[in-house]
């Protein structure tokens, strides 16, 4: 077996109520991952309800038809597993990873909460507080994160649906009512708006019987509305400077409107990102951290910061975040980065660089699939977002086919300085600093 012949087995079908099911069996480790992904995310939110999809994700752990508050966590852990959920712009997902003979526990829990939730004032008030502490912990008390989460999308996008805060404002969180929660549940958490994935060690026939028994009679709902995510044509560069009270090191974020998902430029930019940023031989490491000695650390991706190349729905963006040495002005560092992008636009990547990028992509693909939860996530996201979990076995090839010429021309088209977004993050002044 080599990386090019490594494939996942998979079976796809649909229950009568519209629930899509993907099964990928591998009995070599006694572990099973159960993954449910719903077609709802921050981009489903209405104006004035920023953060609602995420607050709702919390409510999914507050009790359901037959599993009172606390039981969800307790029963998964008491059966030797762990669980979590996460909210993204275009989807919300939940998983349990369990020793394989505990599979029915996860199916029971997921079906029970798809059937109905316990939604009351007390639980909602408690989770509003938990989310506020989560916001303080992850954003407001950290360097860079507020700029990344709340400000950066405003420079990239013009449409509120695309740029509003995923974790939401305290004001919007406070405004959420029990009725909002109930309505959101009915609209979006229906079987026909979800994909269920099992990956790992399980019996195929037995699992199908259980899935049917637990999920078959949950009522489908009309297809949920999708707010328009259309962006106007970019009308020039957008830039801003943010003084960050917690940051000690200056940072820069640079971004460009992304190509439509799975179009030729999408694959080309995916490979270009590897050439620029993956591993110690990448251009940013060799030319900016070393050559220029201006950049300290960086990360970049299609979809960054809330999604990855494999899981954004349009519109996306290609963004680069860099911490740089304070002896350089942020605008100088911006010039250094633009110069690197310009070199790709002028000359394309070398043959050796492209070969290395392909080896990297082959290895990364396998790494992503080594754990059962990693497989389940990728399968579920392809099924929900692309309508075909089978892409897990074919998508790598599309990246490997990309040529140097395609990378160069995609860079010329997509990394256009005229429509870039630039956010400079300056360390805030504090007592004792020299003025």
């Amino acid at each position: 077996m080599t990386s090019s012949t490594f494939t996942l087995p998979l079976e796809r079908y649909r229950l009568d109520n519209g629930l899509r099911v993907v099964l990928s069996r591998d009995p070599t480790a006694p572990v099973v991952a159960v993954y449910l992904i719903y077609g709802v995310g921050a981009r489903s939110e209405e104006f004035g309800r920023s953060g609602f999809a995420h607050l709702f994700e919390h409510m999914m752990f507050q009790g359901s038809c037959h599993a009172p508050k606390g039981l969800h966590f307790q029963i998964v852990e008491a059966n030797g597993g762990y669980l979590n959920g996460s909210t993204h712009p275009d989807y919300t997902d939940y998983f349990e990873v369990l020793p394989s003979n505990k599979l029915p526990v996860a199916l029971w829990l997921e079906a029970d909460r798809m059937r109905g939730l316990v939604i009351n004032e007390e639980n909602l008030a408690n989770q509003k507080e938990a989310v506020k502490e989560e916001r303080r912990l992850r954003l407001d008390n950290q360097p860079y994160v507020t700029a990344i989460v709340d400000l950066w999308p405003r420079l990239l996008f013009r449409n509120w649906t695309n740029y509003h805060s995923l974790i939401g404002s305290f004001e919007d969180l406070d405004a959420a009512t029990v009725d909002d929660v109930a309505r959101f549940f009915k609209t979006y958490y229906a079987p026909n708006n979800a994909v269920l994935v099992l990956a790992g060690d399980f019996d195929l026939e037995e699992s199908k019987r259980l899935i049917e028994a637990y999920f078959h009679d949950i009522e489908p709902q009309p297809a949920p509305p999708r707010p328009s995510t259309t962006e106007p044509e970019p009308d020039g560069e957008r830039s801003a400077v943010y003084e960050d009270p917690h940051a000690r090191i200056p940072a820069l974020i640079l971004g460009f409107p992304g190509p439509p998902r799975r179009c030729p430029d999408y694959y080309a930019l995916g490979v270009l990102d590897v050439i620029l940023t993956a591993g110690a031989s990448a251009r940013f490491q060799q030319n900016l951290v070393k050559g220029r000695r201006s950049v300290i650390q960086y990360e970049a991706n299609l979809g960054w910061p809330f999604a990855s190349a494999s899981d954004y729905i349009d519109p996306g963006a290609y963004s680069i975040f860099l911490l740089h040495h304070p002896s350089f002005r942020t605008r100088e560092v911006l010039d250094h980065v633009m110069e690197e992008l310009g070199r790709i636009q002028d000359d394309g990547p070398s043959r050796e660089e492209l070969e290395r990028a392909r080896s990297f992509l082959r290895a990364e693909h396998v790494k992503q699939l080594e754990s059962n939860i990693g497989r389940a996530q990728l399968l579920g996201r392809h099924e929900l977002l692309d309508g075909d979990a089978g892409l897990v076995n074919t998508e790598l090839e599309r990246f490997l086919e990309v040529t140097a010429e395609q990378i160069q021309s995609a860079a010329q088209r997509r990394l256009d300085p005229a429509v870039r977004a630039v956010l400079e993050i300056a360390p805030g002044r504090r007592e004792g600093d020299e003025s």
């Binding site: 490594f6 008491a78 762990y82 020793p99 028994a213 000690r248 504090r430």
Partner: protein
Amino acid sequence: MTPRLDRTRPPVTPPLQIHRLPAVDEFRLSNGLTLLLVDDGRFPLTHLRLGFHAGARFDPAPLAGLSELTAQLLKEGTETRSARRFAEEVASIGGTLEARSTPDFLIVSGSALSEHTATLLELLADMTRQACFPEEEVELRKQNRLQELAHERSLPDVVASERLCRLVFGDHPYARLLPEAASIRRIGRDELVAFRSSLLRPQNAVLVLVGPLGDRDRLVNTIESHFGDWQPQATPEPAFAEFPEPARSVVLVDRKDSVQFDISAGRRTVNRTHPDYFPLLVANTVLGSGASSRLFRILREQMGFGYDVHSRLEPRRESALFSAGTQVRPEVVAAALEALLDQLRSLAEEPVCAEELETAHNFLTGTFAISLETPGALAGQLLSRKLNGLPDDYLDTFVPRVRAVSASQVRAAAQRYFDPESLAIVLVGDASRLAGQLDVVGPLTIEQVAP
């Protein structure tokens, strides 16, 4: 036809299975290098770990940070390859090779497409045996490390952990979570070369390989060809240092503009070879590991104090750091701290009920099996077992040893290790927002975040 089943209650499932580990082929080369090989053909990737007894506790006192700088610079130029060429060769085999330093060990982790396992081993040998620390790479790494340290110390959880370690471990090297800038400035090429050549030696190392390893003789020959002529040499012991006795102290670190207080309480406990370790592990799980633990259920889900409320046990070779903590809004600091200490007390006062104990047993043993699922994770567990001097059957007996812990042992462990009077307490937040709550906390020292 749809089968009938009672959907109103949780399904009954069989008890957890005992997880069998794959066969581990363990032996030594004649120069003392310990090898652990697991032939795992599931994926076309080979994972490796090479660990040395050369972690931060081996840093000479004025040169804290020497171990981590050595680790970071191993692949930045060797006797035979420039940093750039090394990076390109690693990338061309779909590889990664990263070294890091922990309090006890220096560990190189890597992987590559399995058809290139021999090249991966050649590169691994080159970086660990022939790293030459070119001046300009050393200077750049030092410069950037100073900036990274400033960044890390702007993170409230790092400030809290760093201060807690100092209180708990006193003059022992475990007290240093991060090196001071002045110490990094003192380190030069000579010190790096000396550290590598004295500590990165075969009899001081463990190499673990997990993946589709192919023919054993051919693999062992390849390993011999890259590591066989590596000369053993007596390695220095870390400087001896006493641990201080656990004692109550309270430190408030004033971090201006904080919108939350980070609360941490902790102390030194025992390492994994101590008879109290498993009872302590179960007690910690009941207290604060996972979402069915007491701290999560009570402080977060009932009282709504924090988003993250946890306790953890971080084992080191000679000890373990126990800590419990949360991050809360300023107005509830005293209340949250009191609630946290109450939970510690109550575990010492009353025995846990059978259901809670079983949940902890199952959570620990089930997630243990899950933690061995991937080849890389298995390699990490095997390396840790060997470097920490744990018994050969440690991973195989982990499950029964957890299951053997009784409610009275949990209580005894809590009495011995969770006594609030023995805990160092660190609060990180904006002191000006703590008005009126200080007296509840008791006598405390106030410090400023280092600029």
